[in-house]
Symmetry: C2
Subunit: 306 residues, 2 copies
C-alpha cells in the first residue's frame, strides 16, 4: 500500500465567470467545481486512477474538512484523515475569459495534541505501507521538523519515503534522509541557494542537495522533463511530444509515478514520472491524469545520461 | 415579533489580501471574515442589535447552510430556517489595497415540496408576527409569485408586510398589496419603466408603482435620503450630516427602521430609516449598524413635504 500524507488538505473550488475578472466589480458565478485538494491528495487520486492500493492520510477539520472527506469517498479514494478542531482551508480559482486567478486561504491552526494524534496514527499505518509520500505545505502549529520526524519513523520501519515540499519544510525534511526528494526548479534553487535554469544547473544544485541528506533527487523541470541526481549518476528523461495544457498538478502526477515504481530501475521510474506529468497536463483541473494520454506518452519518453 | 424572510440566505465571506488584486495571479488570503448573509438576515441582525423581538426565517441547506445557522446562533439572532437539500450559496468579497471585488454563487435549486414546507411554516410563524419583512432574491425553483403569495397570507392574517426585492419578484410581489415597498433608485426605475435620478422623478415613479398595488413606496436614494410616496402625500427625509462609508447594507438598515416603527407617524418612520441607513454606512461590513452613530444621526434628520 502507498500512503500519501497531506497535512494541509484543502477544498479546491473553481469558479467560472463570464467575461473578464474586473477588480472592483461584482461577478456572478455561472458554475462551480469542487474537489478534494492538497498535493498529497492529488498524488493519491492519480494512484487510485491507476488502480494502485493507496491510502490518503493527513489532517482535516470543520465543515470544510467534512466536505473534503465526502468528496474523496465519492471518488472511491481510501482515506484515513485525523480530525482537528480547526477548519480546513479552501482554495478558490476564478476562471474568467482570459485569466485564472487564485485565492489561497491560510491553513488551520493545529495543536500539539492533534499533531501527536496524527503521528501515532501514522505509525500504525506504516505497518501496512510499502511507500510513503509526503507532500505540500505545513499548516500553522505543525513543527517545521514534521517531515523529518515522519521520515525517521518510516526509515525505522524500513519504508521508503518521497518528499515534495518547499522552504523550511523541505530543508528540515531532507536532513532526515528521504529516499527521494522531488523539487521543482524554484524549490531546488531555494534549497541549494544556486540558480536552476537548465539541466546542468539542476544537476549541480541536486548534488548540493544530496549533501544535505537526500538519497536521490528528482528535479521536475516542466516540459524539459525530469533529472535524477544520485551519488555517481545523473539521468534525464523528457517527453518527446510535450503536452501543452494545465501545468498545475503535473508535479503531483510525477510523484505518483515515482511512488508506484519504488524498487524498479531509474529509467522505468523516470519514464513513468514523465508520462504521468504529461497526462496531468492534458486534464484541465489539477490532481488527475488522462489515462489514454498516459498510455501513449510512456511509449515516447527520451532518456539520456547527463 | 418582527419576522424577516430570506429565501436565498448566504454565507458572506470577506477575503483580505495584501496589495492589489491582479487577474491571472495567485493571492494568499491574510484574513477571513464570515457572517450569515442575505438581505433579510441583515435586517434581522440590525433589529436584534436594537433589541427588537425578531425571528429570521427562510431557506438554508447543506454544510454552508449549517454554517449560516451556527453564525446566527453565535450572534444570538433567533432563527427558524427551513432545511433544503440544496447547498446554500456563498458570496465572497476580496478586499485588496485599492478595490473590493465580489463573486456571487448562484442560489440552490429549491423543490416544490420544500417551498410548500416553507409556506406552511410561514403561516404558523404569522400567528405570532406583528410585521413581516420580505427581502432579496428568489433562488431557482421558487415561483416568481412567491412574495405575492406570502403577502396574501400575511394580509389574511392582518399582518403588515414590507417588501424589498427587484425585477420580477418585486413586480409580482407589489401586485399583492404590501404595506410598504422599499426600492432603491435602480429598482424603482426598472419597476416603473421611468428614469429615477432625483426627488421629483422618484415621486413620479413611486406614484406609478402605487398603481401596481403597493400601499406606500419608500424609495431609498443613498445620501439623498428617502422619499415616501403614498396616495395624496410625498415626504422626503435626509441626513443633515451624511456618513461617508460603506453603502452596502444601508438599504437593509433602512428597512429595519421602517419595520420597527409600523403604526407610527411617517415623519418618525422615515427619520428612523435615515438614521439607521447612516449608521450602517459607518460599519465596514454589510448588515450591521454603529449604535452611537445611530443615536446621533436620529437627532439630525431633515424632513420636507415634496
Amino acid at each position: 500500500m502507498i500512503l500519501t500524507v497531506t497535512l494541509n488538505a484543502a477544498l479546491d473550488a473553481t469558479y467560472f465567470i463570464e467575461g473578464d475578472l474586473n477588480p472592483g466589480e461584482t461577478h456572478r458565478v455561472c458554475a462551480i467545481a469542487e474537489r478534494a485538494g492538497g498535493k498529497g491528495v492529488n498524488v493519491a487520486r492519480v494512484l487510485h486512477q491507476l488502480g494502485e492500493d493507496v491510502i490518503a492520510t493527513g489532517l482535516v477539520g470543520g465543515r470544510t474538512g467534512d466536505h473534503v472527506q465526502s468528496l474523496l469517498d465519492a471518488e472511491g479514494v481510501s482515506a484515513a484523515f485525523v480530525r482537528i478542531a480547526g477548519e480546513s482551508r479552501r482554495t478558490t480559482v476564478v476562471v474568467a475569459a482570459s485569466s485564472a486567478t487564485g485565492f489561497w486561504e491560510p491553513g488551520p491552526a493545529v495543536t500539539g495534541a492533534e499533531w501527536a494524534d496524527f503521528r501515532a496514527g501514522f505509525e500504525r499505518l506504516l505497518a501496512r505501507a510499502d511507500t510513503v509520500v509526503l507532500s505540500g505545505s505545513l499548516p500553522p502549529g505543525i513543527p517545521v521538523e514534521a517531515y523529518a520526524d515522519l521520515i525517521r519513523l518510516a526509515r525505522a520501519a524500513e519504508v521508503p519515503t518521497l518528499l515534495d515540499a518547499d522552504g523550511d519544510a523541505l530543508r528540515f525534511g531532507i536532513a532526515a534522509g528521504p529516499a527521494v526528494v522531488v523539487p521543482n526548479a524554484a524549490e531546488l534553487a531555494e534549497l541549494s541557494s544556486q540558480p536552476v535554469d537548465g539541466i546542468a544547473s539542476a544537476e549541480r544544485a541536486g548534488r548540493s542537495a544530496l549533501t544535505m541528506g537526500g538519497q536521490a533527487v528528482v528535479a521536475t523541470l516542466g516540459v524539459r522533463g525530469v533529472v535524477l541526481i544520485e551519488p555517481g549518476r545523473c539521468l534525464r528523461a523528457w517527453p518527446l511530444h510535450p503536452v501543452a495544457g494545465n501545468p498545475t498538478g503535473a508535479g503531483d502526477a510525477c510523484v505518483a509515478g515515482l511512488a508506484r515504481t519504488v524498487g524498479r530501475p531509474w529509467a522505468e521510474r523516470l519514464s513513468e514520472a514523465v508520462a504521468l506529468g504529461a497526462a496531468a497536463a492534458a486534464v484541465p483541473t489539477a490532481g488527475a491524469v488522462d489515462l489514454p494520454t498516459y498510455q501513449q506518452q510512456r511509449l515516447h519518453v527520451a532518456l539520456e545520461e547527463c
